[in-house]
């Protein structure tokens, strides 16, 4: 739940059900969580799986500390990071991924997996993800493939001269 809340801070989405606590509902359309961020994080290929429990504990510790210094009272019914509002999750995450933070590398890695889940759907085959209406790929407008699962764009060019070439261009088309 904590990792979901973090992924939702990176690419926010709409709540999956009424009362969804991990996903804050800060944006329309599915976000990183609905796009399979957790599936990607636990994938054997990714190399993050072994660290996830530690990362979740770390995030909650950071949230507890954040609440203490900002005077927030956290709802004990959910993990501390989840208990933060979307604005506070965003403020804390900004601190964690900043160059000055000693654990920046860990949190940036977690953020990168969240972005990739949304706009590549890398936990599943892209053709399958698109066919299933993968939220991120659909929202970025990723064009579906041909029937054989491969992409081809027969129309690709404005087809006309659009600028003068550099006057020193060589006969081979290179810079002089």
């Amino acid at each position: 739940m904590t990792l979901e809340a973090f992924a939702d801070t990176i690419i926010p989405g709409e709540r999956r059900w009424p009362g969804d606590r991990a996903v804050a509902g800060a944006a329309t359309g599915g976000g990183a969580v609905a796009s399979g961020a957790l599936d990607l994080l636990v994938s054997v290929e990714g190399g993050m799986a072994g660290m996830l429990d530690t990362l979740a504990v770390g995030l909650d510790d950071q949230a507890t500390e954040y609440a203490r210094r900002t005077g927030l009272t956290l709802d004990p019914a959910v993990p501390p990071f989840v208990a933060l509002s979307f604005a506070d999750r965003t403020a804390l995450t900004s601190e964690l991924v900043a160059p000055a933070h000693p654990e920046q590398e860990l949190w940036v890695a977690l953020a990168m997996f969240s972005v990739m889940a949304w706009d590549t759907g890398a936990a599943e085959h892209t053709v399958d993800a698109l066919a299933a209406g993968h939220p991120g790929l659909v929202q970025i407008g990723f064009t579906p493939p041909d029937a054989d699962g491969l992409w081809r764009f027969p129309n690709f060019s404005y087809g006309r001269v659009l600028a003068k070439s550099h006057p020193d261009t060589t006969p081979t088309g290179d810079p002089a």
């Binding site: 900004s94 900043a98 990739m116 590549t120 759907g121 970025i140 764009f153 600028a163 003068k164 290179d174």
Partner: protein, 545 residues
């Protein structure tokens, strides 16, 4: 498992720096073995798929450093399999660069005119062809039209792509499914194999030692084809000549690790790394302005919305490739495509009120992804990268099964480099923000530091032993018989895509290597005929291991 073997020439790495000598030495009669760390992929192995474990992660290595991150090839064919095939020659002035040391960085024997015949040889061998305007994709056309609107020029970029086979699918970073991209899998590598060269994939070289007969012993691990972290065996192979061409983030590491066995390395091994002054800007295009201001529209009525369509970079601004400008103020600006994931994470929201590279506003610009235009800056950096002590194996500690590792490269951009980036960013803005065409932001360096897809100079040629690890024949100083022919040998950033120059330098180095091999008793002569062109990359060759 331990194997011992011997041959005339061992080549470490199968990118441009490895495959070119592999072909020419094998054709000339030498016994050649190429050890390649990555897998041997071809044809239908090249997936149109973002899934982890597809060719998009199998064929790559993303090596994270301290302040510099490097994306490079990790497969037979090396960078040529995953590159965008943009092949401009380096401008004349770049060979005269002095960096910040006040004297010419390149050896006196190497300048543009001296390299042109070798460029010609590569151009014929791949081959490289000029693009014309009907070949220029929507995104390249948009960039060219914007340059023109700003009173600037723009050029279609020469490329190693077979236009008749290209589908403009823009998956070429995962390898070309249609064999339209003229990677080394279609020319030098099959020609090398035809002449008896052995290519051994999944062989990761660790270090080099000496043999009693004044030759060299190359020590390698074999790695699992799915999980590259898993070592499946080890062995050695003896040779009279060793060519190190493992790429600019691996070659210096292998040599550093070899120091204990071989003796002191030149001080420039693992120093002077350049990221080719690279940097990216992403523009979020105003579709209405594209139509109104530039007069562009597609047959389907859209003005642009075509970021996904194409074949990498096809149009570039070369106005600032001007030898009259001072160093660190020259750059090229090339339109580029990067797929989602790698190509989106560091892009920043223009006028962000909250976080610029993640969060609510980032999601909004991602929803306009088809209206993105990415501009690739190649400028002049200051060769400020330095490699720390090598990791236990390979060139980095592997984090994921494939793709991701952490290396020992440290990079802190100097004021020269930062000023060059700033000028180039301003240049992009000047062109793309005119009359409301778009809003542009450079990619952020905050999360991971700088990045490059063209690592260079970590073991460079030169005349000065203090600042160059190799002499002008690419031989490692103090270690006769060891040559370095990959991007690490290029003395400094080139202001353009470097693959063509790396290839031309490798071609230029071959006669000297032939001479050295012959002097060591290898029955080899120099062969200047170009490699035969294969029509398919899908040739499975007995590996002879």
């Amino acid at each position: 498992m331990t194997t011992t073997d011997s041959t005339d020439v061992v080549i470490i790495g199968s990118g441009f720096g490895g495959s070119i000598p592999a072909y020419r030495l094998a054709a000339g009669g030498a016994r050649v073995v190429v050890l390649e760390r990555g897998p041997w992929l071809s044809g239908e192995d090249f997936d149109h798929d973002f899934k982890f474990g597809s060719s998009s992660s199998r064929a790559f290595e993303f090596t994270m450093g301290d302040g510099m991150n490097v994306l490079g090839g990790n497969c037979v064919g090396g960078g040529s399999v995953v590159y965008f095939a943009a092949m401009p020659r380096a401008p004349r002035f770049t060979f005269e660069r002095q960096g910040s040391i006040g004297k010419r960085l390149w050896p006196s024997a190497v300048h543009r005119a001296a390299l042109d015949p070798w460029y010609d040889a590569v151009a014929e061998s791949l081959p490289i062809t000029q693009n014309d305007w009907p070949d220029v994709t929507y995104s390249g056309g948009l960039w060219a039209a914007a340059c023109n609107h700003a009173g600037r020029t723009a050029n279609p970029v020469p490329a190693a792509i077979d236009k008749s086979k290209c589908t403009n699918c823009n998956w070429m970073m995962s390898g070309c499914r249609f064999d339209a991209k003229r990677s080394l899998l279609l020319n030098y590598i099959p020609a090398a194999v035809e002449h008896g060269a052995q290519i051994r994939p999944l062989h990761e070289v660790q270090y080099i030692s000496r043999t009693p007969d004044n030759g060299y012993r190359v020590h390698f691990n074999t790695v699992d084809e799915v999980d590259y972290r898993e070592v499946t065996g080890s062995g050695t192979i003896d040779a009279k000549i060793v060519i190190v061409a493992a790429g600019a983030v691996a070659t210096p590491v292998i040599l550093q690790r070899s120091e204990e066995a071989l003796g002191a390395m030149p001080s420039a091994v693992g120093r002077h790394f350049s990221g080719n002054g690279e940097r990216l800007n992403t523009a979020i295009v105003n579709e209405d302005k594209v139509r109104e201001v530039l007069g562009l529209s597609r047959p389907d009525g859209k003005a642009y919305e075509a970021y996904q369509i194409g074949k990498g970079p096809v149009a570039a601004s070369w106005d600032k490739l001007d030898g009259n400008l001072p160093e660190f103020s020259r750059h090229s600006l090339e339109q580029l495509y990067f797929p989602p994931g790698f190509g989106t994470i560091l892009a920043q929201v223009p006028d962000a009120t909250g976080p610029s590279w993640f969060g609510l506003e980032k999601k909004e610009i991602l929803r306009r992804w088809q209206s993105w235009l990415t501009i690739f800056i190649m400028s002049e950096d200051d060769n400020e990268g330095v490699f720390g002590p090598p990791p236990p194996t390979g060139n980095g500690d592997r984090i994921s099964q494939q793709l991701l590792s952490r290396g020992a490269l440290r990079y802190r951009p100097t004021e020269n480099t930062l000023a060059g980036w700033e000028r180039a960013d301003a240049d992009v803005r000047d062109i793309l923000e005119r009359d409301g065409l778009s809003r542009v932001m450079p990619w952020t360096n905050d999360p991971i530091g700088a990045y490059t897809v063209h690592p260079l100079s970590s073991c460079r040629i030169g005349d000065d032993p203090e600042t160059s690890a190799l002499d002008d024949r690419h031989e490692l100083r103090g270690h006769p018989g060891i040559f370095v022919t990959d991007g690490s040998s290029v003395p400094a950033g080139l202001t353009v895509n470097p693959a063509f120059t790396i290839a031309a330098l490798a071609e230029r180095a071959v006669p000297g290597i032939v001479e050295a091999a012959a002097a060591r008793g290898v029955p080899v002569r120099y062969v200047d005929r170009p490699p035969a062109h294969a029509t398919s990359s899908r040739i499975r060759i007995p590996l002879g291991v």
